[in-house]
Amino acid sequence: MTISHFGAVLLFSLFTSVVFGITQRSEPRMMIRFGVYCFALFVLGTIAASWLMWLIKH
């Protein structure tokens, strides 16, 4: 199996956010909100860290 770095980030973020959403909130509505929030933080955080590393290198 081959996978791009960004693909790995999306898959990792998706599955992790599902588990976080279910386990860290009690109400279904709040679970979805927290899951989406975690997913956005994972993806955006990774992109931000990637740019930061690029800037450090250059």
């Binding site: 996978i3 790995a8 898959l11 990792f12 599955f15 992790t16 279910i22 386990t23």
Partner: protein, 136 residues
């Protein structure tokens, strides 16, 4: 003081249900929630954790064995052990790499370890639901 059978049965059930949910949730992802009739949550947990584990295997991730080497290796072993039966199946059938051979396998290893950690979180969540610490 005499108690009627249904109350006694319920009390007895409540005494072992949290531990059962914890152990079942560890052995099979989402099984703790299935025991508590949380079918959708259990299914989502099962699919998520199993998918992460399988992706990790497909990426040739390393399955850690018990070791007393470096601290990170020991921690990674306990993380992978968190996947419960999946870990033992992988060990018995020699699935997964013994060491990281290619760069992408490092991602695979992280997928496997994190799948185990997420499974522990979901098992503890099932335990909290069973003993009433978490409302619903």
């Amino acid at each position: 003081m005499a108690t009627n059978p249904p109350v006694a049965a319920r009390t007895a059930q409540n005494s072992y249900l949290p531990a059962l949910a914890l152990i079942a949730g560890w052995l099979i992802p989402g099984a703790g929630h299935f025991l508590l009739r949380k079918w959708i949550r259990g299914s989502l947990l099962f699919i998520s954790i199993l998918s992460m584990f399988l992706i990790g295997i497909a990426l040739k991730g390393k399955i850690y064995s018990p070791n007393t080497a470096e601290l990170l290796d020991i921690l990674n072993f306990f993380g992978a052990l968190g996947t419960g039966l999946l870990y033992f199946i992988a060990r018995v059938f020699d699935i997964g790499a013994a060491s990281v051979q290619v760069a992408v396998a490092d991602y695979g290893t992280k997928f496997i370890v994190v799948a185990g950690l997420l499974n522990i979180i979901s098992a503890v969540d099932a335990h909290s639901l069973a003993n009433g610490r978490k409302h619903s």
